[in-house]
Amino acid sequence: MLRRTLSIAIITALLFTMISGCGFKDIDKRFFVVSLGIDTGSAPGMFKVTLRLAIPASKIESGKALTEVESLEASSIAEAVRLLKSHVDKELDFGHCRVILIGKTLMEDSVDETLTWLARRRDISMISYVGMAEPSAHEVLKLRPVSERYPGNALLLTFGNEGTESSYTVTEYLFDFVRRRKETGKDAFLPIVKMDPDRNSYEVNQVAFPDKKKLRLSLNSEETQLFNISARHFHKSAIAFPYLGTRIVLALTKVSTSVDISTGDIPVVTFRIRAKGYLEQSPPRFMNGNIPKIENHLQTELNRQLEELLYKIRDAGVDPYGFGLHYLAQYFGNSKDFEKWTKAYPYVSFRIRSRIQVDKSGQIQ
């Protein structure tokens, strides 16, 4: 009996000593990184890593969320993070890092190294939002939005569709970004994060298109919305069309697209888009309430806008819509077919077939 008690005591003691060696770290000894920014450093080959760290408070109020911004330059990201650890009093925890910003200069340069590091870190979630920061990630992360309730949640809510759902904000996850960087016939896109001019909130209404190596094109906010609708099927949006000096606004409720690519030496991409919506703003007695006529007008307008956008993207040499992949998928192509496609892509022509269905013309005639 005594021997048994003794052995139990020894085992318990052993177990308790084990705790010290295996990742036991209380939550109040951890510093949560809420957003991570990576820029090019001052010297070539250097990286500037900016971390936004949450300082938790027991009371939660708007604008009272405290964060600390730490940044450091080193010749690799891993080193920078390791060095940053010596600048803070608690263990850095990337588990809640949901926003990753990549500086514009780094995007123009090369993001390969950054992405490898991000994919290797197991604690960085693959569903983090990725964005391109302008002018630099450090500048954007330094901003302290007034409305922030939890540390770092303003940026998180801006990106995701839990909070605001803006049709100008393109959402991109890390896993999708990584996939698009590697995929044949599909290129990445990144939302551009800027500071609001009055410096109290963020502005995310543009999109940037890098190819496999570097940044190629960025769109303005109108084009961004069109991209968001046509490529990401974002349906909580409103498109405006000019009409005799006024503007008609069509609020969308449903968007679907399909793509058909013909074979031949120079393939023709037929892009079909079906949209459903209602007129949110239109002149009174607009076209006498003749729905088919209105639809027709909107369709030609949308065709024109989309065609412009697609040619602009094609001319920049990027393929964020994934036409190349779709081409392969349609004809079960292999690498030879893809070579053919890459040669042909700068010359492909687009044919837009849009079909707009106006549900009700708002509440009034």
């Binding site: 177990l15 705790i19 109040d28 939660i60």
Partner: protein, 445 residues
């Protein structure tokens, strides 16, 4: 006769031994006045004394079923202790049953109260209990086998079953076990439970104790075996499954959907009471990224002032709540509510404000305590109460993955248990023809 008895009961002063004489016949009489009731007057003393008629008296001795011939001197001591009167007339010994029934009314439910069900509970008297049971399970096939157990207490127990529904293999196993029991004092049903279960079974109860006659009736109908014990308010039911412990008698009386809802809630309760303290440790100290970021920051903020690691915090709070529960059972009823108020409200609030524990931990502790009492069976509730500690320890060492692994081990443990050879945690009982070689392979319990 008296000489023999006196020799056996030396110095037992509360035994009445006397030779009485009514002028016709002398009679030797011996009984314990404390064990016998007033019936001795009408049944024996009146006919013997002033209404005496030798023929009538002889006829009475022969025809009244309360009079039994007791010629074997070895039986005498036992009979006297059971509340019989021994008498010797005309050179013949008789016993007269005149045991005092202490209880004449059914008890009220205290441990397993039901809202709509019957409110009567078993009493500490075995005949009363039999009456309560016969009232609810009234068929000729209900069989009762009497036993006497406890070499010092000599407690009478009854094994009851419906002989058409009962599984004979289990019945034989029970008889074997009962024969093998060596016990000094059988004072409560729980001590019989301990004797009947194997050593390995002690963590979770595999025999159901109940104070409700209606539950016993329901179980008898299912072919289970019931043991009632003289002097205990609880009947034992075997074999049982885990789900029987989670079954409140109200389930039989409530409407279907209420019943489903409450059942689900009970299992969620069990799960919470076992998992919550452990997952608090795991989340706080290993994987704060599992839950939403808001939750992490809230915990972080409320833990900011706590000086110890999370597991000390958990142990402190768990100790407090266990002490509180224990105290409110032992304390007199009147003081009990005060203790709960002081302990639960004031102490918790103060501990949180003083920064000794985080406010989240206070919530967890109360949820743990409350959901533990959702379990209808007190025996099972105790087992579950204990189960959270291994989980806390494994969470200290391995975090959330340890909790899941231990949960797996617990499931296997429960599946491993057998209640009298019957699976304890099989979800859907196999129909009897599905069991391979039933009856031979169930040899070990």
């Amino acid at each position: 006769m008296l000489e023999t008895i006196k020799r056996q009961f030396e110095n037992v002063t509360d035994l009445l031994t006397e030779t009485v004489d009514n002028g016709f016949w002398p009679m030797e009489i011996a009984y314990f006045p404390s064990l016998c009731d007033e019936r001795i007057k009408d049944g024996l003393l009146v006919p013997y004394s002033y209404r005496f008629d030798p023929d009538e008296f002889r006829r009475m001795l022969r025809s009244n079923p309360k009079y039994v011939e007791a010629e074997d001197p070895k039986q005498w001591a036992n009979l006297l202790l059971k509340g019989f009167v021994l008498l010797k007339v005309e050179g013949k010994c008789y016993s007269f049953k005149s045991d005092r029934t202490l209880v004449t009314e059914p008890g009220t439910t205290e441990v397993e109260s039901a809202v709509l069900g019957p409110q009567s509970a078993f009493t500490e008297d075995i005949t009363m209990n039999m009456a309560l049971l016969r009232l609810r399970y009234n068929v000729p096939t209900l069989t009762a086998e009497p036993y006497d157990k406890g070499s010092y207490s000599n407690t009478s127990i009854m094994v009851l079953y419906d002989r058409e529904l009962v599984n004979p293999v289990i019945l034989n196993m029970l008889r074997d076990k009962l024969d093998r029991i060596r016990l000094d004092l059988l004072l409560a049903s729980s001590s019989l439970v301990k004797e009947l279960t194997d050593r390995n079974h002690r963590l979770f109860p595999t025999i159901l104790q109940t104070e409700r006659p209606d539950r016993v009736a329901v179980m008898l109908r299912k072919g289970k075996i019931v043991i009632i014990i003289n002097g205990s308010r609880f009947a034992l039911i075997l074999p049982v499954r885990l789900f029987d412990f989670m079954h409140a008698m109200d389930d039989e009386y409530d409407s279907y959907w209420i019943n489903r809802f409450l059942n689900v809630m009970r299992y969620v309760g069990i799960w919470m009471t076992i998992i919550l303290p452990a997952s608090y440790i795991a989340i706080v100290s290993y994987n704060p990224e599992i839950f939403r970021v808001q939750l992490a920051f809230t915990i972080d903020g409320s833990r900011a002032g706590v000086p110890y690691p999370s597991f000390v915090e958990v142990f402190v709070m768990l100790f407090m709540i266990e002490a509180l529960i224990e105290a409110s059972i032992r304390l007199p009823r009147i003081v009990g509510s005060t203790a709960t108020t002081v302990g639960g409200l004031i102490l918790g609030q103060a501990a949180q404000q003083a920064g000794l524990v985080s406010s989240i931990m206070i919530i967890i502790t109360s949820v743990v305590a409350i959901s533990n009492f959702v379990i209808p069976n007190p025996d099972f509730s105790q087992a579950v109460r204990l189960m959270k500690y291994p989980f806390v320890v494994i969470a200290m060492l391995y975090g959330i993955s340890g909790v899941v692994v231990l949960f797996f081990a617990l499931m296997v443990y429960l599946c491993n248990l057998r209640s009298f050879g019957e699976p304890y945690f099989a979800l859907f009982l196999p129909r009897s023809h599905d069991l391979p070689n039933q009856g031979t392979k169930l040899g070990k319990g």
